[in-house]
Symmetry: C2
Subunit: 416 residues, 2 copies
């Protein structure tokens, strides 16, 4: 544990969320107050900005705009998807990072992202340590996928979940409006973990959810799906609403969207598959089988950037995660990630902030526990509702200007 | 002008909106106060509920729930798409309506919808008049398309426009996050009139909009489109965001989505077109031409049911439209539609409520004035911003319960 004096660099990585900038605000506002931190830099496009020596001077920003970052979705500094090779294979990037850090006297490095980004933190901190360069590295978790190991939940998840639940409620009302059979299939993000799709069950908790929910945690069977849809339609005046994770796979481990394409190609004899996302494909499957009106809907980018529907709990925790990262680094911690620990006392939720070895989070995936899924595999149980409900509490969003959100406007002054 | 004593029936028709239930609340709460109105009925699924004699007794509902209708999207009574034949061709439906109205002593009929629904109002009121049955019929306008003739704007439009503008701002931030070329195409509702797609320009007004906006008011040329996208990408670090109306047509009057399918089929030699909406097709066109990352996004049903983003101005005007319809009918008016008249005094917007012959609104379409579109056909001018901005002011939404909207829950007690 070393107390260092020097500049800090913060970078954003991976897919943006509604609250990644809230963590940025936490890092920046805390770092600007720390006397050991001599300059606060934002790396343009994450690790790429370090390699390219492209830093924004956060000290030149208005404090009011930094505060507005809390309510501004996406990645204000720009993001990147870049996986560092292992230093043993190719140490070019690491040498360059060390060179840049030395040049700017960077003694604190904060990186905000999911498991790949935590891997980056871990590799960089290990390399710098081996090179004898003192620099405290702390990871700040972020992912709408909620799949990071070692933390009760991830910043970004709750706001996306609140979007999914609220929008499912609204769609539920819309999809039932005509006195005719109609099947609606909604596709929700999440390649390997079904946390975000599970959030559709929060809408069920309020009586306006999906009739069937399919997560990637369980294999998907198209024939069974068709029967389950039929069974709901029979009970429900011909109506059925399905929430499905983009990442569902067949029992052979193939993505269902791809499997359906292949089945179409085989039928077609000429090897043509129809375009269209999973929602449209599954909706068409139902439409062709039962001759009912169907609609496939994708929540697309909206589910990760709808900051107007952010959870206040999420925004505040994301901000705190940034602050805590800075405090820990200044106190001498390194090679760690900030994690959330849930405390429930007399039914009230509280979130405690702890540190964990960043290596433990790197490249791991936390999935929805199978025992939280009902026996027929189409719904979440009470365990999930109890888990998720405290996280989506509270409203908070950017102030309105002309009836529209006033997002942060950074000057982005480049460091010479 | 006759002052009548009897029951009233209210029905909802056509595609739902975020505020159609706000008009229902206006009709119900006003009608329940009128001493000339002896019973307040809600027709299940619009005109179909009248033909089927399926009425909900609104007098049995809790007033608190009727108030919550203001913030509840979709059609609480159920909607219908049903175009009455002309009475000269086939008067079966009309005889049935008269029979039902006589049986329940219905002396007031309010119908909420777009131009087809106003046609229904007109036909029913003409028939009842000819049959010598006294019943005052008033149309309450509603459509996210904003294409009704004779009214400054339509209830439902502003909330959908606010969704489009807010979401475009959020997507704008998300779509620019990586340091790589990316073209995003967003498809917005509106078959023949581009009002809702135009709302993307409100996001431009706040600096975070679409680079190119294509309305159905002008013919669409794919080659020109590709050049326009390229020109934006060249100026803009490879980024381009396009907002496009689902209803854009070629100069031959063919829907662009269909024309693109045919072009694919011709190329394919086997007559196969790829599925997928217009957004995906246009995005693929760009991706194939320029080899850049593309994404097609549909606002789908969300744009018409996202009540959590409703415009307060819209919610209140929709409510007033319902109230005014009842007041006018009780005062003896019939065969009319409530219209909105804009009043601007010292830069402040106000909305006045008037009546117009419903025949004038029936089956007509008001389009975006061509002079509001910039010369190259890809953007809206200041006239549109001045028109639309006052309409999207103010926030209002359902109270939260467990962090999620508490929508109205009607008992829907059937009238025996």
């Amino acid at each position: 544990m070393k107390n260092l004096v020097g500049a800090c660099v913060f970078g954003q990585s991976g897919g943006p969320t509604s609250v990644i900038n809230s963590s940025a605000a936490g890092v920046f506002l805390e770092a600007l107050q720390q006397s050991n931190i001599t300059a606060v830099y934002g790396a343009a496009n994450g690790i790429k900005g370090i390699l390219d020596e492209k830093f924004y001077d956060i000290g030149k920003e208005d404090k009011k705009e930094l505060e507005l970052l809390k309510y501004t979705p996406s990645s204000a500094l720009g993001s990147v998807r870049y996986k560092l090779k292992s230093a043993e294979t190719d140490d070019t990037d690491y040498k360059r990072i060390l060179e840049v850090f030395q040049k700017y006297n960077v003694r604190y490095f904060f990186y905000n992202g999911g498991n790949d980004s935590m891997d980056t933190c871990n590799k960089v901190s290990k390399y710098l340590l081996a090179a004898g360069y003192d620099c405290n590295v702390i990871g700040v978790p972020k992912t709408i996928d909620n799949d990071l190991y070692g933390t009760d939940h991830c910043p970004g998840y709750a706001s996306a979940a609140k979007y999914v639940a609220t929008t499912m409620m609204e769609l539920n009302l819309d999809a039932k409006v005509y006195d005719k059979p109609q099947v609606t299939v909604v596709e929700i993000m999440g390649r390997n973990a079904g946390w975000l799709t599970a959030a559709a069950a929060l809408a069920n908790h309020k009586g306006l959810g999906a009739d069937l929910i399919y997560l990637p945690e369980l294999p998907f069977d198209s024939e069974k799906f068709l029967l389950q849809v039929k069974s709901v339609m029979d009970k429900n005046n011909g109506k059925c609403i399905v929430a499905v994770s983009e990442g569902i796979k067949t029992s052979q481990g193939e993505y269902v969207a791809e499997a359906l394409s292949k089945a179409e190609m085989a039928k077609d004899n000429f090897g043509h598959a129809q375009l269209g996302g999973l929602a449209v494909k599954l909706a068409d499957l139902v439409g062709n089988k039962y001759g009912v009106k169907v609609r496939g809907i994708e929540f697309s980018l909206m589910q990760r950037c709808a900051a107007h529907l952010a959870s206040k709990t999420d925004v505040e925790e994301a901000f705190r995660a940034g602050q805590e990262a800075v405090k820990a680094a200044v106190a001498g911690e390194t090679d760690k990630m900030v994690v959330f620990e849930r405390e429930m006392s007399s039914g009230r939720y509280a979130c405690n902030f702890r540190l964990m070895d960043v290596a433990a989070a790197a490249n791991t995936e936390k999935k929805v526990p199978l025992e939280w899924i009902t026996e027929d595999g189409t719904m979440l149980g009470k365990e999930y509702i109890d888990y998720a409900l405290p996280l989506i509490q509270g409203d908070c969003k950017a102030p309105l200007e002309d009836g529209l959100p006033r997002f942060a406007k950074l000057k982005k002054v480049l460091v010479k």
